[in-house]
Amino acid sequence: MMLKAMLGEAWLAMGANRLRTALTMLGMVIGVGAVVIMMAIGQGAQYAVQQTISTMGSNLFIVLSGSFTASGVRSGSAGGPTLNVADGEAIAELEGVVNVAPTHQGRRQLVYGSQNWSANVVGTTPEYLEARAWTIASGAAFGDSDVRSATRVALIGKTTAQNLFGDEDPVGKTMRIQQNPFIVIGVLGSKGQNLDGNDQDDTVIIPLSTAQRKVFGTPFLGSVRMIMVQAESAESMQRTMDNVTSLLRQRHRLREGMPDDFFMRNLSAAAESEAETTRTMSILLGAIASISLLVGGIGIMNIMLVSVTERTREIGIRMAIGARQKDILTQFLLEAVMISFAGCLLGLVLGLGVALAINAFTGMVIVISGSAALVAFAVAATVGIFFGWYPARKAARLDPIEALRYQ
């Protein structure tokens, strides 16, 4: 039997009971729609988290100097002068380490003209910019020579620039940090909030040596509070951290059994777990939505079974005038697939509409990918064939005499 004639017949059969066809289709519409919406939301959440993570810099960990105890008062981490610049240089030699940036940071009051503003001041080396994936929006970054000669130059974040300079272009202007004049040589590209909700753009970055001498002061020359290390990859992270630990223990001449005189924290771990959480949520949403697709499929099977029973006599007539088993099978399968396909198409439209509406009204990030739509479509066709198969086979296997006798 020819496909075109069969399509026409399937269309006729679908039209014979419009309400029933529409309701059966509705199951698929809701199923596919739910999958599309959930995937759009899930992928949107993943995208948003990835955006945040990419502004933080990847595969980062920090080494903090250890605490010290004076008159029974313990200082907490990074209180003692146990790390120095030479430690940082030694870490940079290790395999699997991409960037090492000794840093010293704290909140300081900034003054420009009649304006003043408190921001996080970071004293560091140029590697820091690379590790944290900072870009320069205007002006230029400082270099190693600035760190060596402790020049008084500063890079400032968007938020700081706005609060201190207003509409003026900060590049080339002189501001003061703790009475020391600094020339602003560049404005950093915007990053937005980090995962804790802090504004990453409210910052000032200056050369480490300048920070130590003019802004924070150091207990000993060359000592640093914190060293930021960027590992090659997420996989080599743990190995690199272990290498740094043994290197520092060796350099600090710590014997077996003595506690570390420094702390280490994995900055990327939090971000990774956040990403993992959204990924899990995304899969969960998709799985729940798939259940409605399954229910829609069962609806199709149910109606097809009813339809086969109702049309037993018609099947008998068709067989009597020469329909082969595969003709009957194709006819009913085609009906099921057409219902699920049409439902899928409407579901796609519905899903996209709702996803766009969610985006428009709540501002939630959604990602509509062609692959998600393709998957939904493939699933719908599979569902139609899978759930249409049993009723269609039942129809095809009817005995023509029995079927003709059916009232």
Binding site: M1, M2, K4, A5, L12, A13, A16, R313, E314, G316, I317, R318, M319, A320, I321, G322, A323, R324, Q325, K326, D327, P400, I401, L404
Partner: protein
């Protein structure tokens, strides 16, 4: 002697019932030559309907052989039988068995759909057959819009559309009044005169009188087989 259209040898059919195996047909021998017009008669339960289903390739025998146009069809599979039903013979039922949602033209064209004819061929053949049974002007109507006698004419047109040499009719006038029955029988007679072999099952003697040969069934056997006097045309 020409090759018989139908030749059955020792044809038997038994059904599984709660009471055990029930033999509906107990070894029937019959030959039908091209151009014959045969009425198969007998009371209900005599095995004539079972025999008709076997002749119509709707069922397979449990014993014996059935040669349709020279081919032994007793052991063919379901799809091969479907092709025979489609091309070699036309079946007319007591209850007309038209598909209610399709126009008369589509109903008549349906066997051609299964034999793979293109749309134009289907339309032309269906028109031709509807004209032949005098219902060409109702081609686009639904079966429910015409009378029972007209529906049976459409069913006959459908049986003829693939140009078979053999028409099998199972009580074709059972649901019709005597006047309409007469018209239908006249149509069968005309088709027979054109050379089509007609085998019909009936239990009404005046219907059987249109045939030129009467075969009587009783308890799964043929009990009589004789030629009738020529009916005035």
């Amino acid at each position: 002697m020409t090759e018989p259209v139908i030749r059955v040898v020792g044809l038997g059919k038994s059904y599984e019932t709660a009471a055990g195996l029930f033999p509906a047909l107990k070894g029937v021998d019959l030959e039908v030559r091209p151009g014959e017009f045969i009425a198969i008669m007998g009371p209900s339960g005599s095995g004539k309907s079972t025999f008709m289903n076997l002749l119509g390739c709707l069922d397979t025998p449990t014993s014996g052989d059935y040669f349709l146009a020279g081919q032994n069809v007793a052991h063919m599979d379901k799809d091969a039988l479907a092709v025979l039903r489609n091309r070699t013979l036309g079946f007319v039922f007591q209850g007309f068995n038209l598909l209610p949602r399709m126009s008369l033209q589509d109903n008549v064209a349906l066997p051609l759909v299964y034999s793979g004819a293109d749309k134009e061929t289907r339309r032309a053949a269906a028109r031709e057959m509807l004209d032949k049974v005098g219902l060409g002007k109702y081609a686009e109507s639904l079966p429910s819009r015409i009378s029972g006698g007209q529906q049976q004419r459409v069913a006959i047109a459908r049986a003829l559309v693939n140009k078979p040499h053999l028409i099998l009719a199972d009580e074709p006038t059972g649901n019709l009044d005597s006047h309409t029955s007469e018209e239908i029988m006249t149509l069968f007679s005309e088709l027979n005169r054109e050379g089509i072999t007609v085998v019909l099952v009936t239990h009404e003697p005046d219907i059987a009188a249109h045939a030129r040969r009467q075969v009587r069934f009783l308890d799964g056997h043929i009990v009589s087989d004789h030629l009738t006097e020529a009916v005035p045309a």
